[in-house]
Subunit: 311 residues, 2 copies
């Protein structure tokens, strides 16, 4: 059933998203000892794969639901993704953002026509404000990752990658809330040929690694990582898929993330956000298991603050 | 004859270079009021179009000449281009670099197998050292821009762009030594349909603008520009072609260069060097003349020092 759902999801969202290119680098292949295929979602609309899931989730709403709008709380890419997806589909988007959110992200949401509600920078304040909007407007709440339709949408990036390179032996993606890796794992399971899926995560926020091994959803005490998209934890929709379909999770240091990011910027001449570099960092760190293999990496996005780079 | 030469040049160098993609951006099109097509030579081998001319020049040498190697003096992209082209063709490359050249550039030359000769950071010291090597080794000296074979090679980027988009009404390139724009102008003349060619240059090094209008090769007193690839002046091979085939030269401020560079990085998620941003800056500065037009821009390269960005 999930296989058919993935096919339908891809068909549904294709008119609203870019088919992003897959790039390669001789130098990085030599360094990794593998054939690495980068699925460049940094070239996706609004600069990240998140538009896929947001678009799919809105498209699954009824006409009556759509007329009442959608709500999310996010300080990151999903805020912009939902605003843009909603704009494309003529739906109102209410975006709750903590007062601590970067100004550039707020401007992005505004540019995509989203209505911003600023709240205190705590999860409870964000949730309370989103609840209030749902009650007042009847808008539908959308979670950035822990939602079956969002997961299906995010999985279409790996699906496209496997359409282009059907004999990939690994797909590696970063893990934050788990929407991208859960969707990718479904795609690899149904459309790959014995393709293993590996998650990549900073040591500093290794909740997915610990959850994967303990069998229950773990949280992070601190989130001191440059990979700002990976600070969230798994949910009850993403975690079971990860346990079932993901092969392993590799953790990397902050220095490895920065070095991998620099390598991609310098050699591939593309701008990727730190969260995306985590996947290459994992392939380089544990290069033994990827020797001579065909490895797909989902470059999750390219939204960075150029005034605040780690180089 | 030049038309036939361009066709032969393209055929000759194609096995040794990448066919680079052409990218577009809705947001930049809206900002410019034009359809802008970016020929992405930042994705070219060694990160810049210069490999085209270097490869063509070496391929035109006799077997006996090739066996004695090639020489150039350069602190920039041509040093790396000649080293890599020579390496690909099994030819020795002697690269004279001023002691002031960035370490990263020297490492690039070394990585491509070039032999580096460090000299005092003056033009006369560079020329003297190159002369000495020519006399000692019998190697052939190659100029980064003022050489008919180099010009032909550089022109193949615009030729590919016009193959992909035959109805471009403008091609805009940066102007340094003039190799890129002279070659591009030849390609537009022979393969475009009434396609005008515009040069883009910083106010701070506007020798080409002044030369274009005075009718003789002018020099720069100072070179205070971030566009480090454009500090050189025209030569007796490039200037006549520019006078004959180039329509105009637009000058831009340093702030306009930085803003255009930031726009490309942030919105297109690609890394371009300041010299490349000069061309977009010119299109945005004088947007009146490009309204509603199809405009090709040659993104000359993407080799930047990430530790020293202007943002």
């Amino acid at each position: 059933m999930d296989k058919q759902k993935l096919i339908e999801t891809q068909k549904r969202i294709t008119p609203y998203i870019h088919r992003t290119p897959v790039l390669t680098s001789h130098l990085i292949n030599n360094k990794a000892g593998a054939e690495v295929y980068f699925k460049c979602e940094n070239f996706q609309r609004m600069g990240a794969y998140k538009i896929r899931g947001a678009t799919n989730a809105i498209l699954q709403l009824s006409a009556s639901q759509r007329s009442k709008g959608v709500v999310t709380h996010s300080s990151g890419n999903f805020a912009q993704a939902l605003a843009l997806a909603a704009q494309s589909l003529g739906v109102d988007a209410h975006i709750v953002m903590p007062s601590s959110a970067p100004k550039v992200k707020m401007e992005g949401v505004k540019a995509y026509g989203g209505e911003i509600y600023i709240c205190a920078p705590t999860l409870s304040a964000r949730e309370a404000e989103a609840d209030r909007i749902v009650k007042e407007t009847g808008a539908t709440f959308m979670h950035p990752s822990n939602d079956p339709e969002v997961i299906m949408g995010q999985g279409t990036a790996a699906l496209e990658l496997l359409e282009d390179y059907p004999d990939l032996e690994f797909v590696v993606t970063p893990v934050g809330g788990g929407g991208l890796i859960a969707g990718s794992a479904l795609s690899a399971h149904y459309f790959g040929k014995d393709c293993r899926v590996i998650g990549a995560e900073p040591f500093e926020v290794d909740d997915a690694y610990r959850s994967f091994h303990s069998g229950k959803i773990e949280s992070n005490v601190t989130t001191n990582t440059i990979a700002d998209g990976l600070k969230t934890v798994l949910g009850d929709k993403t975690f079971p898929l990860i346990r079932k379909y993901v092969d392993d999770i590799i953790r990397v240091t902050e220095d490895e993330i920065i070095q991998a990011m620099k390598l991609i910027w310098e050699r591939m001449k593309i701008i990727v956000e730190p969260s995306s570099a985590v996947a290459l960092a994992a392939v380089l760190r544990e290069s033994d298991r990827f020797q001579g293999k065909k490895v797909g990496i989902v470059i999750s996005g390219g939204n960075v603050d150029l005034g605040n780079l780690p180089f």
